[in-house]
Structure formats: structure tokens, C-alpha cells
């Protein structure tokens, strides 16, 4: 497929491997923060992205939560979108056509309330042109297990990974929740379950209150915290997980600049995802790619891969 072109011949080698998936650079857009890519077409060159990860897709369409769904916090934001999406069938028929033509690997973020739902979504995505990988959001509540999130229990996390791996015909990236005591245990379980890579972190659970109205700022009361505020937690988890597993790790959380991206790579990430920063600067991911080129050039890196895990801790 043409998007596997390993590197841009003009500049330094930014290509990285996420298991069998080769990316021309380590910059992807995080699920739920980049729509279905088309929204950004006027504002940046989508073809330059390492990969596009689309908004989480469920088996059936979801209307999402009532408003307000968003609240700003110090150096961050809360969201409780409620996983609004068009459902896998309309995603394939309405969105994949455009995405497949971008010349960029498209990774489909999926979510479900049961193992069966995850499996069925994979089955429907199999063979769809342009789908280069699946990212499994395991932060969703498991309805069969009393609503405890799949991502908070190693056994449940492993079982959803296995289920997806059994069905999917593309590499599987499992996206870890940070709202756990021991993220390393979950990462190991997911690796044992067959994940080709792990991405982290999803949002921290948070809340905001409006003193004037004495109400929660979100109709859903609680929501997911993202943005620069969470970067230290994300970096720590990324570092811990990268040392514990042997599959590639994808860093996510508060990444706004090339410096942020490089810090995650030093901590062990093979690639990164840009989330909330897309709202602040719709060109953020392209600016990060430019920054990586500049860094690799100045530092005379033969390949950006040489800095992965390069943190000096003596």
C-alpha cells in the first residue's frame, strides 16, 4: 500500500515501526480529537501524518451525552462526549472512503460494552480498504461485569485483547486507561493477550463544578481530563510500561510540541498521539512533524528511532 512509503527522501529518517505497521513518522492524531480527519483538511497537509486515528466507533450509532459535554480546567479540559459516533456500518460507508484516499494509515478506534460487540466490530472492519490497524479502547464499562471498565482489570483487559486479536485482520493496538493502581500489570496482561502495541494514556477521570450554579460543569458530572495538565502522569506511565513490555508503546497525553513528543520517545514511546492540542492549534500535528525534522537535523540523528528509550537515568 502506498502509505507504507518508509521515509521522506528529502529529510532525516523519521520512520518508526509499530510492530508490523511502518509509519513514515511517529506522529498520529488521537481518537476523538481529530474527527474523521476531513475537518482538518483545510488547515494542514493530512498526507504528512504518521497515521490518523479516528473517533471511537461502536457497533451501533450512539447519540452521546447531553450538554454541557466540555469544561475547561487549568491547562486541561474535561470531556464527556459519551462516545457519540455513527456506528461501524455508517463509519465504513460514509467515512472510510475519504480516509482511505489520504495516503496515510488509518487506525480505527473501537469500543464496546461486551466482548461480543468488540468482536463484531472487528468482523465488520475486516477487509475494508484503508484500515491499517485497530486501536482498542478498553476504558469502556463492561456491561456484563457490572459496568467495571475492561481496562481496570488485567484479566478483562487480556480477554478483550484476545477477542479482538482473534477477529481482526490488521495489527491491534490496545489503549490503556490511566485510572488504575498498576498500569504495568494491565500492559503486561494485554501483551500476553496478543496486543501488537499499547497506546497510553486515555483520559484521567475528573470533575469540575460551577460555583455560581452549584452544578457540575458537565451534565454527565464526571468526564475525562486531557491536555498539558496530564502530561506528567502520561509520561510516567509511558516510561513504566515501556520498560515492562516488549511490544511498541505509543505515548499520549498533553503532547503539544515536538519537544513533548521527543520526551515521550526518550521515555520509551515508539510513536505518539496528539489529542487536545488539535483544538488549540489545528496544525499541531504537522508542526510537531516539522519540529521532529528540525531536531533530527540539528542533532544529526541518522534515524529518529535512535532516541526511543534513550532517557539517561544512570
Amino acid at each position: 500500500m502506498e502509505y507504507l512509503a518508509p521515509k521522506d527522501e528529502q529529510g532525516p529518517d523519521l520512520s518508526v515501526n509499530i510492530g508490523s505497521l511502518e509509519l513514515k513518522n511517529p506522529v498520529m492524531t488521537a481518537s476523538g480529537t481529530f474527527g474523521y480527519a476531513r475537518e482538518f483538511a483545510d488547515l494542514m497537509d493530512l498526507g504528512r501524518l504518521g497515521a490518523v486515528i479516528v473517533k471511537g466507533i461502536s457497533l451501533h450509532p450512539r447519540e452521546g451525552n447531553p450538554p454541557p459535554r466540555i469544561a475547561e480546567t487549568s491547562c486541561g479540559m474535561l470531556n464527556a462526549i459519551g462516545l457519540q459516533n455513527v456506528g461501524v456500518d455508517r463509519f465504513i460507508s460514509e467515512k472510510m472512503g475519504y480516509l482511505a484516499k489520504l495516503g496515510v494509515p488509518v487506525i480505527v478506534n473501537i469500543l464496546g460494552d461486551s466482548l461480543g460487540e468488540y468482536e463484531e466490530i472487528c468482523a465488520r472492519l475486516n477487509g475494508v480498504p484503508g484500515v491499517a490497524g485497530i486501536e482498542v479502547n478498553i476504558s469502556c464499562p463492561n456491561v456484563k461485569k457490572g459496568g467495571v471498565a475492561f481496562g481496570t482489570d488485567p484479566l478483562m483487559a487480556a480477554s478483550v485483547t484476545k477477542a479482538v486479536k482473534n477477529r481482526a485482520d490488521v495489527p491491534v493496538m490496545v489503549k490503556l486507561s490511566p485510572n488504575v493502581t498498576d498500569i504495568v500489570a494491565i500492559a503486561r496482561a494485554v501483551e500476553d493477550g496478543g496486543a501488537d502495541s499499547v497506546s497510553l494514556i486515555n483520559t484521567l477521570i475528573g470533575m469540575a463544578i460551577d460555583l455560581k450554579t452549584r452544578k457540575p460543569a458537565l451534565a454527565n458530572i464526571i468526564g475525562g481530563l486531557s491536555g498539558p495538565a496530564i502530561k506528567p502522569v502520561a509520561l510516567r506511565m509511558c516510561y513504566q510500561v515501556a520498560r515492562a513490555v516488549s511490544v511498541p508503546v505509543i505515548g499520549i497525553g498533553g503532547i503539544e510540541t515536538a519537544t513533548d513528543a521527543l520526551e515521550f520517545m526518550l521515555a520509551g514511546a515508539s510513536a505518539v498521539q496528539v489529542g487536545t492540542a488539535n483544538f488549540v492549534n489545528p496544525r499541531a500535528s504537522e508542526d510537531i512533524i516539522d519540529g521532529l525534522i528540525e531536531y533530527a537535523t540539528t542533532e544529526k540523528l541518522v534515524s529518529i528511532r535512535s532516541i526511543i528509550g534513550g532517557l539517561i537515568t544512570e
Binding site: G35, D42, P66, P228
Partner: protein, 262 residues
């Protein structure tokens, strides 16, 4: 519908009252393709706090590539914006959303309350330009007090429509709400109404127009993170029981299509 992110130069800052400001920005790409009722997302700081951009209606597009915002200081973002100086640069991104549908054959009533006045100036200008003669059109402007309305009256009148004002405290125009003005004017036959302002006012406009079978387009607000359809954060209930997204399906809607929560 192209969109641009521009590093706009502030060319003018006007202060109308303790809290109300109008700033003029040079951002030719956005100004060159904006339509009345559309908005822009503005970064009010280069710091990470406050983090998100703020949405503002396009108050006016001038021929020279400038664009104006008319806003009230209500929190930290607008406070920072009120403190910019001419020559400074701020990041502006737009034009965004669906604006007003201009129906240039019908007589129009424009109703703005408070900061809802902001998008109407651009709208009235374009409307009158297309229609050529707009002496029958009526602009109703309501505000808290004189300082919120008076400085803008001339800007509207220059395009031809008649302007009637009201203020909550009676310091300018008639005392009371702008919706009360509406009750008392003679409506031109088969007119269309364009509104922007606080939710209760828009709800009242919708009811008023439904009763009289008048087309009513209103511009509404919502919390926004991205302003361009990527975050799905700006949902708002529509009358059909689904959610609509203010940044892409709006901010201008047929009043009939919306559900009012208040």
C-alpha cells in the same frame, strides 16, 4: 468553505463601556471569505492557561482584510482579549460554522440582545448590500444600558434600515427587553426575522415567529473546544430528539429546529 489559521495583527481596540470592547484584527484570508453569522476561534493567550480558544461571532468584515469582534468581558479569556494592544498578534482561526441564510427579497427584522448584537452588523451590511434598498428593514437592539447599545447605532443606520433600541435600565431607547419592542412594531408583511442574544430572548423570538408564521433564524451559543466538528463537544438538543452541533450545524439555526431548555 475554506478555513484558515492566521496570526492576526490587532489594529484597533475600542472600549465602549467597562466591560464591552470592539477589536479590529487584520486577517485577510478569514475576512476574505467569511459570511454573516459565522464565527472565529481566538487564542486569547500564548500561555497554556486558559488553554482553549474562545468563539466569537464575526462582527464585521471590512474591505481591507480586517475583521472586527465585539465582545463583553465575562471571564479570563475575554479579560485577556480586552488587554491586547494594537500591533500585537493573536491566533485566529475560521471562518467557522453555518451563518445566516440571506433572503434578500423579503423585508427583514434583525433582533440583537446584548452581545447578540455582534453578528448582526455584518449581517445587516450584507443584507442591505444584496437587497440594495433596505429602508423597510428594522433593526432592534437591546442592551443592559446605554453603553452597550448607543455606540453601535450609527454603524447600523449607515446601511439604511431603521434602528430602534431598548435598554434594561432605560438609559437609552425604550426601557425594557428588546422582545417588547418587537411586540409594538408594525411588522412588514411576509418578513423574515434574524436573531441573536440570550437563550430566553431567542426562545421568545421563536415563539413569536411561530405564532405569526414568520421564518426565524437564530444564532445560539454552546461550550466549544474545537469549533470545527472534531470534538463533538458543542452538542445541543434539537427538536427531533437528537443532538445537533452548534459549531458545524450552527451557530445559526431555524428556531423551529431547536429544543429550548429554559
Amino acid at each position: 468553505m475554506s478555513q484558515y489559521q492566521e496570526n492576526a495583527t490587532v489594529t484597533r481596540v475600542e472600549q465602549f463601556s467597562a466591560t464591552n470592547y470592539r477589536i479590529t484584527l487584520n486577517c485577510p484570508e478569514i475576512a476574505g471569505c467569511a459570511e454573516p453569522g459565522q464565527f472565529v476561534m481566538v487564542r486569547t493567550t500564548t500561555s497554556k492557561d486558559p488553554l482553549l480558544r474562545r468563539p466569537f461571532s464575526i462582527h464585521q468584515c471590512l474591505g481591507d482584510g480586517s475583521l472586527q469582534l465585539y465582545f463583553k468581558v465575562v471571564g479570563r479569556g475575554t479579560d485577556l482579549l480586552s488587554k491586547v494592544s494594537p500591533g500585537e498578534k493573536i491566533s485566529v482561526f475560521g471562518p467557522l460554522g453555518r451563518g445566516y441564510r440571506l433572503n434578500s427579497t423579503k423585508p427583514a427584522i434583525f433582533v440583537g440582545g446584548g452581545m447578540g448584537i455582534a453578528p448582526l452588523l455584518f449581517l445587516v451590511k450584507e443584507y442591505c448590500r444584496l437587497k440594495k434598498e433596505c429602508g423597510e428593514d428594522i433593526v432592534l437592539l437591546g442592551g443592559r444600558d446605554k453603553s452597550e447599545v448607543a455606540p453601535l447605532v450609527d454603524d447600523f443606520e449607515v446601511y439604511g434600515p431603521s434602528v430602534v433600541a431598548s435598554t434594561d435600565d432605560g438609559s437609552f431607547g425604550q426601557q425594557g427587553f428588546v422582545t417588547e419592542l418587537l411586540q409594538n412594531i408594525a411588522l412588514p408583511p411576509s418578513c423574515v426575522l434574524y436573531g441573536c442574544g440570550p437563550e430566553p430572548m431567542l426562545k421568545a423570538l421563536g415563539a413569536f415567529c411561530r405564532d405569526r408564521n414568520i421564518e426565524c433564524q437564530v444564532s445560539v451559543e454552546s461550550v466549544m473546544a474545537c469549533g470545527m466538528g472534531a470534538c463533538l463537544g458543542c452538542s445541543r438538543p434539537a427538536k427531533d430528539g437528537t443532538y445537533t452541533h452548534v459549531c458545524v450545524h450552527g451557530p445559526v439555526f431555524d428556531a423551529e429546529k431547536l429544543a429550548w431548555n429554559i
